[in-house]
């Protein structure tokens, strides 16, 4: 059994609790153990870096140091948390001076970070550690016929870490294929959802959400799959506001990839937090109805 330290991040406590629930359920079913970090703190999203770089590194380093104590690699389900932790770890490893400053502060909480933690995004655990083949073998209720738009968003793959493909990655598609659904190819899968601009620059962000939804709908997506709570909220919760703002009529369900995997693994909806969303996933194809345990409609 593979084991990871798990940093849920603030959003997963309430706003994205369904992501947390489905992450725990699916990983358990696939033989991966996630141990929540003891007394973690907020990663700071992007805002720490606006105010004070050193503070930002220190707060991320606290979580990394807690993870290091467990001797496990740490997994973050939120893209922003992941990016912050990944690059904090990378910078601290490279920059001794920075590490010294940060560790001086960490002493106050009896912590020390020596740079020996690998940071992974939750979707990397599915794509690399579990792998699409293994996932496929565990699927009991394949989501046949459902057209899913994989939405990568920004900070899972950008900025570039090594030489991976940052423009047309395929791992999300492979996971969707593994659960029997059809991944759709749409041009905006790598574009930004607006992130925190939804607060500071509303019109800009709503336009970005609109473009994304439009691109998915144009390519007949039945549902958009995300791997980040921020993206999920922007694409889903703000859908109504997009409709009001632009006179559109979007009603696209936006689900966490773990929820979709959970369905295919036969985990009951309730355990996956399904029911908390604004736009319910329309059970159109018959296969889904069976998968969800819904009564078949007779035509």
């Amino acid at each position: 059994m593979k084991e990871f330290a798990y940093f849920p991040g603030c959003s997963l406590e309430k706003m994205a609790s369904s992501y947390h629930m489905s992450a725990m359920e699916t990983t358990q079913k696939l033989g991966v153990k996630l141990n929540e970090l003891d007394d973690w703190n907020c990663c700071g999203a992007t805002t720490y870096f606006y105010i004070d770089e050193l503070l930002a590194y220190t707060l991320c380093a606290r979580n990394l140091a807690i993870a290091e104590k467990t001797g496990l690699d740490v997994v973050a389900p939120c893209s922003a948390c992941y990016k912050n932790m990944f690059f904090t770890a990378a910078h601290l490893k490279k920059d001794e001076d920075l590490a010294e400053h940060v560790n001086f502060a960490l002493e106050e909480d009896n912590l020390h970070f020596s740079g020996n933690v690998k940071v992974k995004h939750l979707i990397e655990v599915f794509a690399q550690d579990i792998g699409p083949d293994e996932l496929k073998s565990k699927v009991t209720k394949p989501l046949e016929g459902i057209r899913i738009a994989p939405y990568y968003g920004c900070q899972i793959i950008r900025p570039q870490k090594e030489k991976e493909d940052v423009e047309q990655p395929q791992f999300f598609e492979e996971l969707i294929s593994a659960i029997g659904a059809t991944p759709i190819n749409y041009p905006l899968k790598m574009r930004c959802c607006g992130g925190s601009l939804i607060i500071s620059s509303r019109t800009a962000a709503l336009t970005m959400v609109r473009n994304l939804l439009q691109s998915a709908v144009d390519n007949q997506a039945a549902v958009i799959a995300t791997a980040c709570p921020m993206c999920q909220v922007n694409l889903e919760v703000y859908q109504q506001q997009v409709n009001l703002e632009f006179g559109t009529n979007f009603s696209v369900p936006v689900m966490y990839f773990t929820q979709l995997i959970g369905m295919a693994l036969g985990i009951p909806n309730k355990k996956l937090g399904i029911g908390k969303e604004f736009v319910a996933m329309a059970p159109t194809p018959l296969a889904v109805e069976t998968a969800w345990g819904l009564p078949r409609k007779t035509k």
Partner: protein, 673 residues
């Protein structure tokens, strides 16, 4: 270090170089100091003079050599890269072996880079002391003389190679022209028009190809590759694999019945850039030289399934030979010209430009084939469906060039190529054409005028590197089109330009195997894969290995006129060498003292030029002086100290270090320094 028994008579000459040296260094003081303090080393005379390199300065040295019987000379002046030859010749003129003269630099490395006059003067003393200590251990040397074989090997049958081969052959010397593909012609044979004059490429190239094919002095070896090169300037021996064409050339008339009858169609990725098909037995294009086809054994039905033989059945001269074997030839040549050309940047690497994903994105080579009237679309500019003419075309510059994510260098031909494309598209279809560029570079004769012509033709020029090309349409006007997303940096506007066709003006890259080529011929190759010339300005076609020259794009991206000029220039250099009949080589070489050699063979692997031979019978290694380039790595690596490097011996260097540290100077003065 034991001193030599007989004391040398050394003359020291310190140059003022006007005020270049004397302005910072107290030349008189240095000169007097040397005369007094380096006496023990053998200094018998020390002089200073305004300009040592002038004829008067040289005569001063020559006079001392004759009158005082100097056996060694140290000149303290400028860099040896500037005047070493001058002073060596001066010594030679006075009857002293030129290699007994040492030039030490007190200008570039002292007076020009320091401001503290005292410190600079002290440093000059140390430098001269180093030179004096070193020169004691110099030996009289004679340059090596090697005869030159009159034949030349030209590798690569593109325009640069053809030009080089023709020049040499016309001068009456034999040439072996080796080409990997079944026909010579190279990339130029694929083009339609050439910029800026819009000459038809085939019209100007074909006569040259025919000349090369028929020339009595040229041995054409197509479908062949060089596998091994031994020897050195004057007498290289190249091993060439002549791949089996699967037919007897002597009997073949090139009638073309075989490829007409061949039932197997293959996508032609090489000549047609994937835009068209050929047969399994084929000539790459109608004007191919030589005219004989080859059987592509990977795709031929007979080689796959064992049946078919349609070509053999229909061949009127019965020349097909399925059992033919590769031939291995060895040829002896005096010089080599490498002209292996370039590969097109793989535009798939820039995924945001959509090549391979979005059908109506084309590469530059694809467009060349498309606009060529002998090409797969008969010269019609059409979309991937093969029939629709585009109404709007976007041409993207700098694809894969000027970008640290791919290649940092400018590919130099893409601007002009893009302008040519813009003209051809407009001429053939009347479409609106957009050029997306970062800078327009037109630095050759007639190029800027061509750009002006394009401006007058009404081509749109947008200054901005294209961010992405996608099918993400938003507005009705974008429906069914490709959208080019770019900032017009001149106005700061964000543009979404809908086009029917996008052409990626891809950059030039070194051949994928250029590093292997460099290794094969023992020359150096830059980190990005272009072969390195001896000097970037003054010797762009020679390499650091004597007798090996480079021409055309193998040295770096360049256009047709420049490739032709380099081909001709390389030929001229080779002919000059051949005319000399023999050449003199700098005697900076390593030699192994057999009695000290333990036969450990460490040096064998250290040598980059394979100049060290191991004699199994005597269990000792030996340096081939004609192959040795004198780098000295083996000298430093020999655990037994059995190797001496002429001109840079351990004694010379160690003694120079002592000198530089003023260990050879009486203690009192050394402390003052």
């Amino acid at each position: 270090m034991d001193k030599k028994d007989e004391k040398e008579k050394i003359g020291v000459y310190v140059c003022h170089c006007g005020t270049n040296i004397a302005g910072v260094i107290n030349v008189e003081e240095v000169s007097t100091w040397a005369a007094e303090n380096l006496k023990d080393q053998g200094v018998v005379i020390s002089r200073e003079y305004k300009f040592m390199c002038s004829s008067l300065g040289q005569e001063l040295i020559q006079k001392d050599i004759k009158e005082l019987g100097l056996t060694r000379v140290v000149v303290a002046a400028c860099s040896p890269h500037l005047h070493e030859k001058t002073f060596r010749n001066a010594c030679k003129g006075a009857g002293l072996n030129p290699y007994l003269c040492e030039l030490v630099s007190i200008r570039e490395q002292d007076s020009w880079v320091h401001t503290d006059k005292v410190a600079a003067t002290e440093k000059a003393k140390a430098i001269i002391s180093g030179g004096v200590s070193r020169v004691v251990y110099h030996e009289a040397l004679e340059p090596l003389h090697v005869p030159i074989h009159p034949a030349t090997l030209v590798v690569g049958g593109g325009i640069a190679g053809i030009q080089a081969a023709l020049e040499i052959a016309d001068a009456g010397f034999p040439v072996y022209l080796v080409e990997r593909e079944p026909s010579i012609g190279g990339h130029m044979a694929q083009f339609d028009k050439t910029f800026p004059t819009l000459d038809c490429s085939a019209c100007i190239l074909t006569p040259k190809m025919v000349d090369a094919g028929n020339h009595p002095n040229i041995t054409l070896l197509t479908y062949s590759e060089v596998e091994k090169v031994d020897g050195y300037v004057g007498s290289f021996v190249a091993t060439i694999r002549k791949r089996a064409r699967s037919l007897r050339e002597a009997d073949c008339t090139g009638c073309g019945i075989c490829w007409e009858k061949c039932p197997k169609k293959v996508v032609d990725d090489v000549f047609e850039a994937g835009m068209g098909n050929r047969k399994a037995i084929y000539v790459p294009f109608p004007q191919a030289v030589p005219k004989y086809p080859v059987i592509d054994r990977v795709n031929c039905t007979y080689y796959i399934k064992g049946t078919c033989k349609a070509c053999e059945k229909f061949c009127p001269t019965n020349c097909i030979d399925f059992a033919q074997q590769d031939e291995i030839l060895t040829v002896e040549v005096g010089n080599v010209i490498l002209a292996t050309g370039w590969d097109l940047f793989d535009t798939r690497r820039i995924t945001q430009y959509g090549y391979g994903r979005l059908p109506n994105v084309f590469t530059s080579l694809e467009f060349e084939r498309m606009s060529n009237s002998a090409g797969p679309t008969g010269g019609n500019v059409v979309l991937r469906d093969g029939k629709t003419e585009p109404k709007v075309v976007g041409i993207v510059h700098c694809v894969g060039s000027r970008d640290k994510n791919y290649n940092e260098y400018c590919s130099s031909i893409c601007c002009m190529q893009s302008l040519k494309f813009a003209h051809l598209v407009k001429e053939k279809t009347g479409a609106e054409v957009y050029n997306f560029y970062i800078d327009i570079r037109t630095p050759a004769k007639g190029y800027e005028e061509f750009y002006h012509r394009l401006l007058e033709e009404g081509t749109h020029f947008i200054r901005g590197k294209v961010a992405e090309i996608s099918d993400a349409t938003r507005l009705p006007s974008e429906e069914g089109k490709l959208v080019i997303q770019v900032e017009d940096t001149l106005t700061g506007n964000q543009l979404r330009v809908p086009v029917d066709m996008a052409i990626l003006s891809a950059g030039l890259e070194p051949r994928h195997d250029s590093k292997a080529l460099a290794k094969l011929f023992g020359i150096s190759c830059s980190a990005d894969g272009w072969l390195i010339e001896r000097h970037p300005k003054l010797d762009p076609i020679a390499t650091m290995t004597d007798g090996i020259y480079i021409a055309g794009c193998v040295q770096g991206p360049k256009d047709i006129p420049a490739s032709v000029a380099q081909g001709a220039a390389a030929a001229a250099r080779v002919m000059g060498k051949i005319q000399q009949k023999e050449i003199a080589l700098e005697p900076v070489r390593a030699t192994i003292h057999e009695e000290q050699c333990s036969g450990c063979r460490i040096c064998n692997n250290l040598c980059p030029f394979n100049a060290i031979l191991f004699h199994e019978d005597r269990m000792v290694s030996e340096v081939n002086p004609a192959l040795c380039q004198g780098c000295g790595t083996c000298v430093a690596g020999c655990p037994a100290g059995a190797i001496t490097g002429t001109g840079f011996s351990n004694e010379q260097i160690l003694s120079q270090i002592n000198g530089l540290l003023l260990l050879n100077v009486p203690k009192k003065q050394a402390v003052a320094a």
